[in-house]
Amino acid sequence: MLSLRNQLVREVSALYGFVDSVSASCTEIPQSVAFTESSARFFQCVEQLATATKNHLAAFPPEHLEIATEDEFHEMRDELFTIRRVWKQLHQFIKPASDSDTLNQPTALISAMLDRTRKLPGLQNADFAIFLTETFDYLQVNPTWIRGAASDLAFIVTAEEFPSGLGLIGIPSTQGSSLFLNCLVAHEIGEYVYSEKSLDDQLRHEVRAALEIVYGADYQTKERTEKSRLVDTVLSWSKELFCDLFAVCLIGSCYTFAYIELFDLPNLLDKSDALATSRPGQPPIHFYSLHPSHPFRVKYQTDLLKQLKWWPQIHNIDSRYVRVMDLLSALTDNDFIEAEDTRKLLIDAFFKVIPEINTQLGRIVGGLDTGVHDFVQLREHIAHYLQEGIVPSTITIDGQPQPATPTAVTVLNSFALFYLENIEKLMNRVADENLNSAKRRVHWAKKLESWTSKALEDITLFSRP
């Protein structure tokens, strides 16, 4: 029979091999691919943890330590268990992050959003690596969670801790390089900010107070676990709404347009462009079982766009997307609650928390230029450039001695409006183009995206000292 030490050595070898294979995606990256600085930073941290882990395992169990008793054996075995657990957690992200090289993520868009996030108070060190997910969804991995997991490991293997502020954002693997839909990444940046600013802790008190008001004396008689469930539900709704509103502040109306496209909300309209929710297949406007409905969220995004002065710039455009926004914005909060919904009180409590969500949002983004002024100045000019198939990064205007450089927010929103309203104008400029061909429309939509991405890259170059 093998000695306890020998048994441990076998298990250590297996674990060493596991760590080696998990970290290989970071350590064996071919020279033909490039990564953003944020991704490279993530890989560097993983590599450093992997090296420390392997060094630790190579000397494990220490020669001088006796493994005479069952307890001593299990103490060491527990350490191996923790190391394996943390590497299993990291495993979920390492290969998907290494798949997200600069050709497989919207590098210019992410860089523009990151630059803007870093202008927010206390977020100068904000950073996030992108990974590709197999689900058709956008994800954010809480940086505190990563740091926590990595800290457990770093303590055991004596490595440097994960840097603070480094988060992970997942985008659908098939949408890696698209621009329009990836405007939804702004929501995930909102989740990152929500987590970094510990807004759960800040909102929890408001949520409890709101629940006490709407449930009255009943609230105090509820079981502790039930109270906790109610608080967590309202908190999770609050987070979703905060992140949507944050995204609108970060990049403007293009976020809402992308949101409407992803969730197919023009399907709320009938053929006369009126709101109709009775037909099968149409998205319900009432609260869903797990979170506020998409129409409710669009209403709040639209209300914020009105506050931020975006609305006068977009409400006249000829698009069903804007019509949806207009109609949803006209509804009251109660229109989004089904008459027989058993969660009415819970939803009421959520409504009471919304002013505090706005207050927290204002504290974080209040000093950020909305971008509307620059957009108003340059939107028409950019539309002319796009219509002529020209990258809109250097805008020459009659009567102005120097060309203008638009902001990233202006370029993104000008692109989004042009995409929704004027793609036919671009196609009409091209000889023998078929406006009725979906294939050709996609061709030109992709061109628009590529010119916009190029403009974002150019703007970054112009902003370098």
């Binding site: 600069t102 091209v430 000889a431 590529s450």
Partner: protein, 222 residues
């Protein structure tokens, strides 16, 4: 027809880009140093297509995607570099996006300092009026030494030449000349189509030793 001078180029650059007579070069970095008396320096962009042998053993004009599938796309961000082995080629593109007016044609030449290292950046240097896009560069290292390419470095010179077309005409754009921002592999034309158009009735496919009818190919396509 004459080569545009720095003064004329600057005047064209000051016209709003969407107007037919305007010239656009963006991003126009280091504007002063980029100008010669009659030429503008263009920089190397960050995207490359590296020729690969697989999946087909040769570029096959009978397969429309053959050229597109025989390249490996590579991104080298500013600050990174690409090595071209001796006697090897790569497709690159200019960092600058350019738009030519209707009455101007262009030509891109290798910068002399680059040419002296035996790098050739362009074998199809002519640029048609109304072109808009980053220029695809057919970069060849004809030296015996591997060479390092840094995106962002000046690599070519753009010469602009006036032609006798109307400057202010909103001519329809050709889809082929609108909008690449990265190097593009060619779309190979089918030998059956091209040869049939000039009256050739049969041709040899690289996949068969038998002669094929150019007309049959059209029927099959229909």
């Amino acid at each position: 027809m004459s080569v545009l001078s720095k003064k004329t180029i600057e005047a064209r650059l000051r016209i709003p880009g969407w107007r037919p007579e305007s010239l656009v070069i963006t991003p126009f970095l280091g504007s002063g140093e980029a100008f010669d008396h009659d030429a503008i320096d263009l920089r190397l962009g960050s995207f490359f297509l590296i020729p690969q042998s697989p999946p087909a053993p040769f570029l096959d004009p009978t397969k429309p995607d053959s050229a597109k599938r025989s390249h490996l796309k590579v991104h080298k961000p500013l600050g990174a570099y690409l090595v071209i082995p001796a006697h090897q080629t790569v497709l690159g593109a200019t960092l600058e996006f350019i738009k030519l007016p209707n009455d101007v044609s262009g030509q891109i030449l290798t910068k002399s300092s680059v040419a002296r290292t035996f790098l050739v950046i362009e074998t199809a240097p002519w640029i048609h009026p109304l072109y808009r896009g980053c220029l695809t560069l057919e970069i060849a290292n004809v030296s015996n030494t591997p060479q390092v390419l840094y995106p962002g470095f000046p690599i070519g010179q753009l010469i602009l030449i006036s032609n006798d077309l109307a400057a202010d005409a909103f001519e329809p754009l050709s889809a082929a000349y609108v909008g690449p921002i990265e190097p593009e592999a060619p779309s190979l034309k089918s030998p059956a189509d091209v040869l049939r158009d000039i009256g050739v009735k049969r041709y040899l496919s690289p996949h068969s030793s038998d002669w094929k009818s150019t007309e049959d190919d059209r029927q099959n396509a229909l």
